[in-house]
Symmetry: C2
Subunit: 248 residues, 2 copies
DNA sequence: GCGAATAGTAATGACGCATAACACTTGTGA
DNA sequence: TCACAAGTGTTATGCGTCATTACTATTCGC
Protein backbone atom coordinates (compact mmCIF):
# COMPACT_ATOMS: atom_id res chain seq x y z
CA UNK A 1 0.00 0.00 0.00
CA UNK A 2 1.61 3.21 -1.17
CA UNK A 3 0.33 6.51 0.07
CA UNK A 4 0.12 9.53 -2.16
CA UNK A 5 3.16 11.01 -0.42
CA UNK A 6 5.25 7.97 -1.09
CA UNK A 7 4.34 8.04 -4.73
CA UNK A 8 5.23 11.70 -5.01
CA UNK A 9 8.51 11.04 -3.30
CA UNK A 10 9.35 8.17 -5.62
CA UNK A 11 8.49 10.34 -8.59
CA UNK A 12 10.81 13.06 -7.36
CA UNK A 13 13.62 10.57 -6.85
CA UNK A 14 13.10 9.33 -10.38
CA UNK A 15 13.13 12.87 -11.68
CA UNK A 16 16.38 13.60 -9.89
CA UNK A 17 18.05 10.54 -11.33
CA UNK A 18 16.65 11.24 -14.78
CA UNK A 19 17.86 14.83 -14.59
CA UNK A 20 21.28 13.68 -13.50
CA UNK A 21 21.45 11.38 -16.52
CA UNK A 22 20.34 14.16 -18.83
CA UNK A 23 23.07 16.39 -17.53
CA UNK A 24 25.60 13.60 -17.98
CA UNK A 25 24.54 13.17 -21.58
CA UNK A 26 24.61 16.90 -22.15
CA UNK A 27 27.92 17.49 -20.48
CA UNK A 28 29.37 14.33 -21.94
CA UNK A 29 30.90 13.03 -18.74
CA UNK A 30 29.98 11.05 -15.67
CA UNK A 31 30.61 14.05 -13.46
CA UNK A 32 27.53 15.60 -11.88
CA UNK A 33 26.85 18.50 -9.53
CA UNK A 34 23.99 18.78 -7.13
CA UNK A 35 23.61 22.44 -7.92
CA UNK A 36 23.26 21.75 -11.64
CA UNK A 37 20.68 19.05 -11.07
CA UNK A 38 18.68 21.27 -8.77
CA UNK A 39 18.81 24.24 -11.13
CA UNK A 40 17.75 22.09 -14.03
CA UNK A 41 14.77 20.89 -12.00
CA UNK A 42 13.76 24.33 -10.80
CA UNK A 43 14.86 23.50 -7.29
CA UNK A 44 17.67 24.51 -5.02
CA UNK A 45 20.58 22.26 -4.22
CA UNK A 46 19.90 21.72 -0.51
CA UNK A 47 16.46 20.35 -1.30
CA UNK A 48 18.09 17.32 -2.90
CA UNK A 49 19.41 16.26 0.45
CA UNK A 50 15.88 15.24 1.34
CA UNK A 51 16.28 12.43 -1.17
CA UNK A 52 19.96 11.53 -1.19
CA UNK A 53 22.23 11.78 1.82
CA UNK A 54 25.11 12.92 -0.34
CA UNK A 55 26.53 12.89 -3.83
CA UNK A 56 27.89 9.38 -3.52
CA UNK A 57 24.51 7.97 -2.64
CA UNK A 58 23.05 9.41 -5.82
CA UNK A 59 25.92 7.99 -7.85
CA UNK A 60 25.45 4.59 -6.30
CA UNK A 61 21.77 4.68 -7.17
CA UNK A 62 22.61 5.61 -10.75
CA UNK A 63 25.08 2.75 -11.02
CA UNK A 64 22.62 0.22 -9.65
CA UNK A 65 19.97 1.49 -12.04
CA UNK A 66 22.37 1.19 -14.94
CA UNK A 67 23.03 -2.44 -14.05
CA UNK A 68 19.34 -3.15 -13.92
CA UNK A 69 18.59 -1.31 -17.09
CA UNK A 70 21.29 -2.99 -19.12
CA UNK A 71 20.30 -6.38 -17.78
CA UNK A 72 16.59 -6.02 -18.40
CA UNK A 73 17.11 -4.38 -21.78
CA UNK A 74 19.20 -7.28 -22.98
CA UNK A 75 16.85 -9.83 -21.49
CA UNK A 76 13.80 -8.19 -23.03
CA UNK A 77 15.42 -8.00 -26.42
CA UNK A 78 16.18 -11.68 -26.23
CA UNK A 79 12.65 -12.45 -25.13
CA UNK A 80 11.30 -10.63 -28.18
CA UNK A 81 13.29 -12.85 -30.50
CA UNK A 82 11.83 -16.17 -31.50
CA UNK A 83 12.95 -18.72 -28.95
CA UNK A 84 13.45 -21.25 -31.72
CA UNK A 85 15.83 -19.02 -33.58
CA UNK A 86 19.09 -19.35 -31.69
CA UNK A 87 21.07 -17.24 -34.17
CA UNK A 88 18.46 -14.56 -33.96
CA UNK A 89 18.48 -14.67 -30.18
CA UNK A 90 22.24 -14.43 -30.12
CA UNK A 91 22.24 -11.45 -32.40
CA UNK A 92 19.41 -9.90 -30.44
CA UNK A 93 21.37 -10.14 -27.20
CA UNK A 94 24.51 -8.73 -28.75
CA UNK A 95 22.64 -5.96 -30.53
CA UNK A 96 20.79 -4.98 -27.39
CA UNK A 97 24.08 -4.73 -25.54
CA UNK A 98 25.52 -2.59 -28.32
CA UNK A 99 22.46 -0.42 -28.66
CA UNK A 100 22.22 0.25 -24.96
CA UNK A 101 25.85 1.28 -24.79
CA UNK A 102 25.57 3.51 -27.85
CA UNK A 103 22.52 5.20 -26.46
CA UNK A 104 23.91 5.53 -22.96
CA UNK A 105 27.67 5.96 -23.24
CA UNK A 106 27.84 7.75 -19.89
CA UNK A 107 26.05 4.98 -18.06
CA UNK A 108 28.31 2.50 -19.80
CA UNK A 109 31.33 4.41 -18.56
CA UNK A 110 29.75 4.50 -15.14
CA UNK A 111 29.63 0.73 -14.79
CA UNK A 112 32.40 -0.47 -17.10
CA UNK A 113 34.89 2.37 -17.02
CA UNK A 114 37.09 4.08 -14.49
CA UNK A 115 35.45 5.25 -11.30
CA UNK A 116 34.14 8.81 -11.13
CA UNK A 117 36.63 11.28 -9.60
CA UNK A 118 35.37 11.81 -6.08
CA UNK A 119 33.42 8.58 -5.85
CA UNK A 120 34.33 5.51 -3.87
CA UNK A 121 32.26 2.39 -4.39
CA UNK A 122 30.34 1.30 -1.30
CA UNK A 123 31.67 -2.25 -1.52
CA UNK A 124 33.05 -4.78 -3.94
CA UNK A 125 29.58 -5.98 -4.88
CA UNK A 126 28.32 -3.83 -7.72
CA UNK A 127 31.40 -4.13 -9.89
CA UNK A 128 31.30 -7.90 -9.83
CA UNK A 129 27.58 -7.73 -10.36
CA UNK A 130 28.09 -5.83 -13.60
CA UNK A 131 30.15 -8.63 -15.06
CA UNK A 132 27.77 -11.29 -13.87
CA UNK A 133 24.63 -9.79 -15.33
CA UNK A 134 26.24 -8.83 -18.58
CA UNK A 135 27.37 -12.37 -19.08
CA UNK A 136 24.18 -13.99 -17.84
CA UNK A 137 22.17 -13.76 -21.03
CA UNK A 138 25.01 -14.99 -23.21
CA UNK A 139 25.66 -17.86 -20.84
CA UNK A 140 22.05 -18.91 -20.66
CA UNK A 141 21.84 -18.81 -24.43
CA UNK A 142 24.69 -21.27 -24.61
CA UNK A 143 23.05 -23.37 -21.95
CA UNK A 144 19.89 -23.53 -24.00
CA UNK A 145 21.78 -24.53 -27.10
CA UNK A 146 23.48 -27.22 -25.06
CA UNK A 147 20.16 -28.45 -23.75
CA UNK A 148 19.01 -28.85 -27.33
CA UNK A 149 22.18 -30.67 -28.17
CA UNK A 150 23.03 -28.11 -30.80
CA UNK A 151 26.30 -26.98 -29.31
CA UNK A 152 29.32 -27.70 -31.47
CA UNK A 153 32.91 -27.78 -30.38
CA UNK A 154 34.38 -24.33 -30.03
CA UNK A 155 37.53 -23.73 -32.03
CA UNK A 156 39.65 -23.08 -29.00
CA UNK A 157 42.76 -25.15 -28.50
CA UNK A 158 42.18 -26.62 -25.07
CA UNK A 159 41.09 -25.39 -21.68
CA UNK A 160 44.00 -24.50 -19.46
CA UNK A 161 44.01 -26.14 -16.04
CA UNK A 162 44.07 -22.86 -14.16
CA UNK A 163 41.18 -21.60 -16.23
CA UNK A 164 39.31 -24.84 -15.78
CA UNK A 165 39.52 -24.48 -12.01
CA UNK A 166 38.04 -21.01 -12.08
CA UNK A 167 35.27 -22.04 -14.42
CA UNK A 168 34.27 -24.95 -12.22
CA UNK A 169 34.36 -22.73 -9.17
CA UNK A 170 32.20 -20.13 -10.85
CA UNK A 171 29.64 -22.59 -12.12
CA UNK A 172 29.46 -24.17 -8.68
CA UNK A 173 28.83 -20.76 -7.14
CA UNK A 174 26.04 -19.85 -9.53
CA UNK A 175 22.45 -20.81 -9.02
CA UNK A 176 22.16 -24.57 -9.08
CA UNK A 177 18.98 -24.13 -11.06
CA UNK A 178 20.89 -22.65 -13.97
CA UNK A 179 21.97 -25.09 -16.57
CA UNK A 180 25.69 -25.21 -17.09
CA UNK A 181 27.79 -25.57 -20.18
CA UNK A 182 31.02 -27.45 -20.85
CA UNK A 183 34.13 -25.66 -19.64
CA UNK A 184 35.43 -25.21 -23.16
CA UNK A 185 32.15 -23.60 -24.14
CA UNK A 186 32.25 -21.34 -21.13
CA UNK A 187 35.69 -20.22 -22.20
CA UNK A 188 34.41 -19.59 -25.70
CA UNK A 189 31.59 -17.63 -24.15
CA UNK A 190 34.13 -15.41 -22.44
CA UNK A 191 35.76 -14.88 -25.82
CA UNK A 192 32.39 -13.82 -27.20
CA UNK A 193 31.94 -11.35 -24.43
CA UNK A 194 35.41 -9.91 -24.95
CA UNK A 195 34.85 -9.48 -28.65
CA UNK A 196 31.47 -7.88 -28.13
CA UNK A 197 32.70 -5.62 -25.39
CA UNK A 198 35.76 -4.61 -27.38
CA UNK A 199 33.78 -3.70 -30.45
CA UNK A 200 31.27 -1.74 -28.45
CA UNK A 201 33.92 0.10 -26.45
CA UNK A 202 35.89 1.14 -29.49
CA UNK A 203 32.78 2.17 -31.36
CA UNK A 204 31.29 4.14 -28.50
CA UNK A 205 34.43 6.09 -27.79
CA UNK A 206 34.77 7.05 -31.43
CA UNK A 207 37.71 4.90 -32.46
CA UNK A 208 35.81 3.54 -35.42
CA UNK A 209 35.32 7.05 -36.69
CA UNK A 210 36.84 6.14 -40.03
CA UNK A 211 33.90 3.86 -40.69
CA UNK A 212 30.49 5.01 -41.82
CA UNK A 213 27.54 3.95 -39.67
CA UNK A 214 26.59 1.37 -42.27
CA UNK A 215 30.11 -0.02 -42.29
CA UNK A 216 30.07 -0.20 -38.51
CA UNK A 217 26.80 -2.12 -38.62
CA UNK A 218 28.30 -4.57 -41.07
CA UNK A 219 31.42 -4.96 -38.97
CA UNK A 220 29.27 -5.56 -35.93
CA UNK A 221 27.26 -8.32 -37.53
CA UNK A 222 30.47 -9.88 -38.72
CA UNK A 223 31.94 -9.66 -35.23
CA UNK A 224 28.93 -11.35 -33.69
CA UNK A 225 28.86 -14.02 -36.34
CA UNK A 226 32.53 -14.80 -35.92
CA UNK A 227 32.17 -14.93 -32.15
CA UNK A 228 29.26 -17.33 -32.37
CA UNK A 229 30.90 -19.59 -34.94
CA UNK A 230 34.19 -19.86 -33.12
CA UNK A 231 32.31 -20.64 -29.93
CA UNK A 232 30.52 -23.61 -31.35
CA UNK A 233 27.23 -21.78 -31.10
CA UNK A 234 24.74 -22.92 -33.73
CA UNK A 235 24.80 -20.12 -36.26
CA UNK A 236 22.90 -20.16 -39.49
CA UNK A 237 24.14 -18.21 -42.47
CA UNK A 238 23.08 -16.21 -44.33
CA UNK A 239 23.26 -13.69 -41.54
CA UNK A 240 20.04 -11.99 -40.53
CA UNK A 241 19.34 -8.72 -42.25
CA UNK A 242 20.70 -5.49 -40.92
CA UNK A 243 17.24 -4.43 -39.82
CA UNK A 244 17.60 -6.88 -36.98
CA UNK A 245 20.57 -4.92 -35.74
CA UNK A 246 19.12 -1.45 -35.88
CA UNK A 247 15.50 -2.13 -35.03
CA UNK A 248 13.76 -3.66 -32.04
CA UNK B 1 72.67 22.19 -28.86
CA UNK B 2 70.84 22.20 -25.56
CA UNK B 3 71.94 24.57 -22.87
CA UNK B 4 72.14 23.61 -19.25
CA UNK B 5 69.02 25.63 -18.55
CA UNK B 6 67.03 23.88 -21.24
CA UNK B 7 67.99 20.52 -19.86
CA UNK B 8 66.94 21.51 -16.36
CA UNK B 9 63.68 22.80 -17.69
CA UNK B 10 63.01 19.64 -19.62
CA UNK B 11 63.77 17.61 -16.51
CA UNK B 12 61.28 19.65 -14.50
CA UNK B 13 58.62 19.19 -17.14
CA UNK B 14 59.23 15.47 -17.06
CA UNK B 15 59.03 15.46 -13.30
CA UNK B 16 55.73 17.31 -13.39
CA UNK B 17 54.25 14.84 -15.83
CA UNK B 18 55.63 11.89 -13.92
CA UNK B 19 54.23 13.27 -10.68
CA UNK B 20 50.85 13.79 -12.30
CA UNK B 21 50.86 10.16 -13.41
CA UNK B 22 51.86 8.99 -9.95
CA UNK B 23 48.98 10.89 -8.45
CA UNK B 24 46.63 9.42 -11.03
CA UNK B 25 47.76 5.92 -10.11
CA UNK B 26 47.49 6.68 -6.42
CA UNK B 27 44.11 8.32 -6.60
CA UNK B 28 42.88 5.82 -9.16
CA UNK B 29 41.40 8.30 -11.56
CA UNK B 30 42.39 10.53 -14.43
CA UNK B 31 41.55 13.62 -12.43
CA UNK B 32 44.47 15.76 -11.37
CA UNK B 33 44.94 19.00 -9.45
CA UNK B 34 47.75 21.45 -9.89
CA UNK B 35 47.93 21.98 -6.17
CA UNK B 36 48.39 18.27 -5.50
CA UNK B 37 51.11 17.94 -8.09
CA UNK B 38 52.97 20.91 -6.72
CA UNK B 39 52.71 19.74 -3.12
CA UNK B 40 53.90 16.31 -4.08
CA UNK B 41 56.93 17.87 -5.75
CA UNK B 42 57.72 20.21 -2.88
CA UNK B 43 56.63 23.18 -4.92
CA UNK B 44 53.73 25.57 -4.93
CA UNK B 45 50.96 25.50 -7.48
CA UNK B 46 51.67 28.79 -9.25
CA UNK B 47 55.17 27.63 -10.14
CA UNK B 48 53.65 25.04 -12.46
CA UNK B 49 52.31 27.78 -14.65
CA UNK B 50 55.91 28.45 -15.69
CA UNK B 51 55.75 25.12 -17.49
CA UNK B 52 52.16 24.64 -18.54
CA UNK B 53 49.83 27.46 -19.50
CA UNK B 54 46.90 25.74 -17.82
CA UNK B 55 45.54 22.41 -16.70
CA UNK B 56 44.35 21.42 -20.15
CA UNK B 57 47.80 21.88 -21.61
CA UNK B 58 49.22 19.46 -19.07
CA UNK B 59 46.47 16.96 -19.81
CA UNK B 60 47.08 17.25 -23.52
CA UNK B 61 50.77 16.59 -22.96
CA UNK B 62 49.95 13.53 -20.90
CA UNK B 63 47.64 12.22 -23.59
CA UNK B 64 50.20 12.72 -26.34
CA UNK B 65 52.84 11.01 -24.21
CA UNK B 66 50.52 8.09 -23.59
CA UNK B 67 50.01 7.66 -27.33
CA UNK B 68 53.74 7.70 -27.92
CA UNK B 69 54.47 5.37 -25.06
CA UNK B 70 51.91 2.79 -26.06
CA UNK B 71 53.01 2.96 -29.67
CA UNK B 72 56.72 2.61 -28.99
CA UNK B 73 56.22 -0.03 -26.32
CA UNK B 74 54.27 -2.21 -28.70
CA UNK B 75 56.72 -1.57 -31.54
CA UNK B 76 59.73 -2.36 -29.38
CA UNK B 77 58.19 -5.54 -28.09
CA UNK B 78 57.56 -6.64 -31.64
CA UNK B 79 61.10 -5.74 -32.64
CA UNK B 80 62.45 -7.93 -29.85
CA UNK B 81 60.61 -10.94 -31.22
CA UNK B 82 62.24 -12.94 -33.95
CA UNK B 83 61.17 -11.42 -37.25
CA UNK B 84 60.82 -14.92 -38.72
CA UNK B 85 58.42 -16.02 -36.05
CA UNK B 86 55.13 -14.49 -37.09
CA UNK B 87 53.14 -16.18 -34.33
CA UNK B 88 55.63 -14.94 -31.80
CA UNK B 89 55.49 -11.43 -33.18
CA UNK B 90 51.72 -11.45 -33.10
CA UNK B 91 51.67 -12.59 -29.51
CA UNK B 92 54.39 -10.09 -28.64
CA UNK B 93 52.36 -7.22 -30.03
CA UNK B 94 49.19 -8.32 -28.26
CA UNK B 95 51.00 -8.98 -25.00
CA UNK B 96 52.71 -5.61 -25.09
CA UNK B 97 49.36 -3.93 -25.60
CA UNK B 98 47.92 -5.87 -22.69
CA UNK B 99 50.89 -5.33 -20.41
CA UNK B 100 50.99 -1.61 -21.05
CA UNK B 101 47.31 -1.26 -20.26
CA UNK B 102 47.57 -3.36 -17.12
CA UNK B 103 50.49 -1.34 -15.88
CA UNK B 104 48.99 2.01 -16.82
CA UNK B 105 45.24 1.74 -16.45
CA UNK B 106 44.88 5.49 -15.95
CA UNK B 107 46.76 6.34 -19.10
CA UNK B 108 44.65 3.76 -20.91
CA UNK B 109 41.52 5.46 -19.64
CA UNK B 110 43.01 8.77 -20.68
CA UNK B 111 43.28 7.82 -24.33
CA UNK B 112 40.63 5.13 -24.76
CA UNK B 113 38.03 6.08 -22.21
CA UNK B 114 35.69 8.94 -21.53
CA UNK B 115 37.18 12.41 -21.48
CA UNK B 116 38.28 13.91 -18.18
CA UNK B 117 35.58 16.11 -16.58
CA UNK B 118 36.68 19.63 -17.32
CA UNK B 119 38.88 18.77 -20.27
CA UNK B 120 38.14 19.57 -23.89
CA UNK B 121 40.42 18.07 -26.52
CA UNK B 122 42.35 20.67 -28.51
CA UNK B 123 41.18 19.22 -31.83
CA UNK B 124 39.99 16.02 -33.43
CA UNK B 125 43.55 14.85 -34.07
CA UNK B 126 44.73 12.99 -31.00
CA UNK B 127 41.72 10.74 -30.63
CA UNK B 128 41.94 9.51 -34.19
CA UNK B 129 45.65 9.19 -33.76
CA UNK B 130 45.15 6.80 -30.86
CA UNK B 131 43.25 4.38 -33.02
CA UNK B 132 45.70 4.67 -35.88
CA UNK B 133 48.83 3.94 -33.88
CA UNK B 134 47.25 1.16 -31.88
CA UNK B 135 46.25 -0.56 -35.09
CA UNK B 136 49.47 0.16 -36.95
CA UNK B 137 51.55 -2.68 -35.58
CA UNK B 138 48.82 -5.25 -36.06
CA UNK B 139 48.20 -4.04 -39.56
CA UNK B 140 51.85 -4.09 -40.54
CA UNK B 141 52.15 -7.58 -39.15
CA UNK B 142 49.41 -8.71 -41.46
CA UNK B 143 51.06 -6.85 -44.31
CA UNK B 144 54.27 -8.70 -43.67
CA UNK B 145 52.51 -12.04 -43.59
CA UNK B 146 50.85 -11.09 -46.85
CA UNK B 147 54.19 -10.16 -48.39
CA UNK B 148 55.46 -13.60 -47.51
CA UNK B 149 52.40 -15.16 -49.04
CA UNK B 150 51.49 -16.75 -45.74
CA UNK B 151 48.14 -15.10 -45.29
CA UNK B 152 45.22 -17.50 -45.33
CA UNK B 153 41.60 -16.65 -45.86
CA UNK B 154 39.98 -15.21 -42.77
CA UNK B 155 36.88 -17.02 -41.63
CA UNK B 156 34.65 -14.03 -42.11
CA UNK B 157 31.60 -14.38 -44.28
CA UNK B 158 32.14 -11.66 -46.83
CA UNK B 159 33.11 -8.01 -46.81
CA UNK B 160 30.10 -5.74 -46.82
CA UNK B 161 30.06 -3.08 -49.52
CA UNK B 162 29.83 -0.20 -47.08
CA UNK B 163 32.72 -1.61 -45.10
CA UNK B 164 34.70 -2.20 -48.26
CA UNK B 165 34.41 1.43 -49.23
CA UNK B 166 35.73 2.61 -45.87
CA UNK B 167 38.60 0.17 -45.97
CA UNK B 168 39.64 1.27 -49.43
CA UNK B 169 39.41 4.90 -48.40
CA UNK B 170 41.50 4.28 -45.32
CA UNK B 171 44.19 2.36 -47.13
CA UNK B 172 44.36 5.04 -49.79
CA UNK B 173 44.79 7.68 -47.10
CA UNK B 174 47.59 5.82 -45.35
CA UNK B 175 51.23 6.12 -46.34
CA UNK B 176 51.64 4.80 -49.85
CA UNK B 177 54.87 3.21 -48.70
CA UNK B 178 52.99 0.92 -46.35
CA UNK B 179 52.08 -2.39 -47.79
CA UNK B 180 48.37 -3.04 -47.80
CA UNK B 181 46.37 -6.14 -47.11
CA UNK B 182 43.24 -7.52 -48.74
CA UNK B 183 40.03 -5.90 -47.55
CA UNK B 184 38.79 -9.09 -45.98
CA UNK B 185 42.02 -9.34 -44.03
CA UNK B 186 41.76 -5.76 -42.94
CA UNK B 187 38.32 -6.51 -41.62
CA UNK B 188 39.65 -9.55 -39.81
CA UNK B 189 42.36 -7.30 -38.42
CA UNK B 190 39.67 -5.04 -36.98
CA UNK B 191 38.12 -8.10 -35.38
CA UNK B 192 41.49 -8.90 -33.82
CA UNK B 193 41.76 -5.43 -32.42
CA UNK B 194 38.24 -5.58 -30.99
CA UNK B 195 38.89 -8.89 -29.32
CA UNK B 196 42.20 -7.72 -27.91
CA UNK B 197 40.79 -4.42 -26.74
CA UNK B 198 37.76 -6.08 -25.20
CA UNK B 199 39.78 -8.58 -23.25
CA UNK B 200 42.15 -5.94 -22.01
CA UNK B 201 39.36 -3.54 -21.05
CA UNK B 202 37.45 -6.13 -19.10
CA UNK B 203 40.57 -7.40 -17.39
CA UNK B 204 41.88 -3.98 -16.47
CA UNK B 205 38.66 -2.78 -14.97
CA UNK B 206 38.40 -5.87 -12.85
CA UNK B 207 35.58 -7.69 -14.59
CA UNK B 208 37.61 -10.88 -14.81
CA UNK B 209 38.01 -10.84 -11.07
CA UNK B 210 36.61 -14.36 -10.79
CA UNK B 211 39.65 -15.66 -12.64
CA UNK B 212 43.06 -16.18 -11.07
CA UNK B 213 45.99 -14.40 -12.73
CA UNK B 214 47.12 -17.67 -14.25
CA UNK B 215 43.65 -18.32 -15.63
CA UNK B 216 43.58 -14.83 -17.10
CA UNK B 217 46.92 -15.43 -18.76
CA UNK B 218 45.61 -18.63 -20.27
CA UNK B 219 42.43 -16.92 -21.44
CA UNK B 220 44.51 -14.18 -22.97
CA UNK B 221 46.67 -16.54 -24.97
CA UNK B 222 43.57 -18.32 -26.13
CA UNK B 223 41.99 -15.02 -27.15
CA UNK B 224 45.02 -14.02 -29.17
CA UNK B 225 45.27 -17.43 -30.77
CA UNK B 226 41.63 -17.45 -31.75
CA UNK B 227 41.87 -13.94 -33.15
CA UNK B 228 44.88 -14.84 -35.25
CA UNK B 229 43.41 -18.07 -36.54
CA UNK B 230 40.08 -16.60 -37.50
CA UNK B 231 41.91 -13.78 -39.28
CA UNK B 232 43.86 -16.06 -41.54
CA UNK B 233 47.05 -15.07 -39.81
CA UNK B 234 49.68 -17.85 -39.91
CA UNK B 235 49.56 -19.26 -36.42
CA UNK B 236 51.56 -22.23 -35.31
CA UNK B 237 50.34 -24.42 -32.49
CA UNK B 238 51.39 -25.45 -29.94
CA UNK B 239 51.03 -21.98 -28.57
CA UNK B 240 54.15 -20.30 -27.20
CA UNK B 241 54.74 -20.81 -23.52
CA UNK B 242 53.22 -18.51 -20.97
CA UNK B 243 56.59 -16.98 -20.23
CA UNK B 244 56.28 -15.19 -23.52
CA UNK B 245 53.22 -13.46 -22.20
CA UNK B 246 54.50 -12.35 -18.86
CA UNK B 247 58.11 -11.62 -19.70
CA UNK B 248 59.83 -9.28 -22.14
C1' DG C 1 -6.44 22.44 12.07
C1' DC C 2 -2.22 19.63 13.14
C1' DG C 3 1.92 17.83 12.05
C1' DA C 4 5.00 15.84 9.05
C1' DA C 5 7.12 16.25 4.75
C1' DT C 6 9.08 19.40 1.77
C1' DA C 7 11.20 23.46 -0.18
C1' DG C 8 13.60 27.87 0.07
C1' DT C 9 17.15 31.23 2.00
C1' DA C 10 21.28 32.19 3.88
C1' DA C 11 25.55 31.00 5.59
C1' DT C 12 29.73 28.29 6.06
C1' DG C 13 33.87 26.15 4.76
C1' DA C 14 36.70 24.17 1.61
C1' DC C 15 38.80 23.92 -2.62
C1' DG C 16 40.62 24.85 -7.26
C1' DC C 17 42.18 27.69 -11.06
C1' DA C 18 44.51 31.43 -12.27
C1' DT C 19 47.12 35.89 -11.92
C1' DA C 20 50.04 39.52 -10.06
C1' DA C 21 53.64 41.27 -7.38
C1' DC C 22 57.73 40.31 -5.30
C1' DA C 23 62.26 37.68 -4.29
C1' DC C 24 65.93 34.51 -5.16
C1' DT C 25 69.15 31.98 -8.33
C1' DT C 26 72.13 31.46 -12.04
C1' DG C 27 74.51 32.09 -16.19
C1' DT C 28 76.79 35.49 -18.91
C1' DG C 29 78.88 39.50 -20.84
C1' DA C 30 81.19 43.94 -19.85
C1' DT D 1 84.75 40.77 -10.58
C1' DC D 2 80.48 42.81 -10.95
C1' DA D 3 76.11 43.86 -12.76
C1' DC D 4 72.38 42.65 -15.58
C1' DA D 5 68.80 39.72 -17.30
C1' DA D 6 66.42 35.58 -17.91
C1' DG D 7 64.54 32.03 -15.47
C1' DT D 8 62.43 30.20 -11.46
C1' DG D 9 59.87 30.09 -7.24
C1' DT D 10 56.94 32.09 -3.30
C1' DT D 11 53.41 34.70 -1.07
C1' DA D 12 49.24 37.05 -1.47
C1' DT D 13 45.00 37.51 -3.69
C1' DG D 14 40.67 37.31 -6.46
C1' DC D 15 37.24 34.72 -8.28
C1' DG D 16 34.20 31.19 -8.78
C1' DT D 17 32.11 26.71 -7.62
C1' DC D 18 30.42 23.31 -4.85
C1' DA D 19 28.91 20.33 -0.88
C1' DT D 20 26.78 20.66 3.19
C1' DT D 21 24.29 22.59 7.34
C1' DA D 22 21.01 25.53 10.01
C1' DC D 23 17.10 27.80 10.04
C1' DT D 24 12.62 29.33 8.23
C1' DA D 25 8.47 29.12 5.46
C1' DT D 26 5.16 26.50 3.04
C1' DT D 27 2.43 22.75 1.43
C1' DC D 28 -0.36 18.79 1.82
C1' DG D 29 -2.30 14.67 3.64
C1' DC D 30 -4.85 12.91 7.44
Amino acid sequence: MTTRRERARAATIDEIKETALSLMREHGSTDIRFSDIARSMGMTAPALYRYFADRDELLTALIVDAFDDLGTTVAESRARASADDLSGSFLAVASAYRRWVNQEPQRFALIFGMPVPGYVAPDEGPTTEAARRAMAQLESLFAEAAARGMLGRPTIHEVDDALLGCIIAKQAASEPAEATVPAETFQACLHCWSALHGFVSLETYGHFGFLTPEARDALFVSTVRLAALSSGFPWSDPAPTLSMVTNT
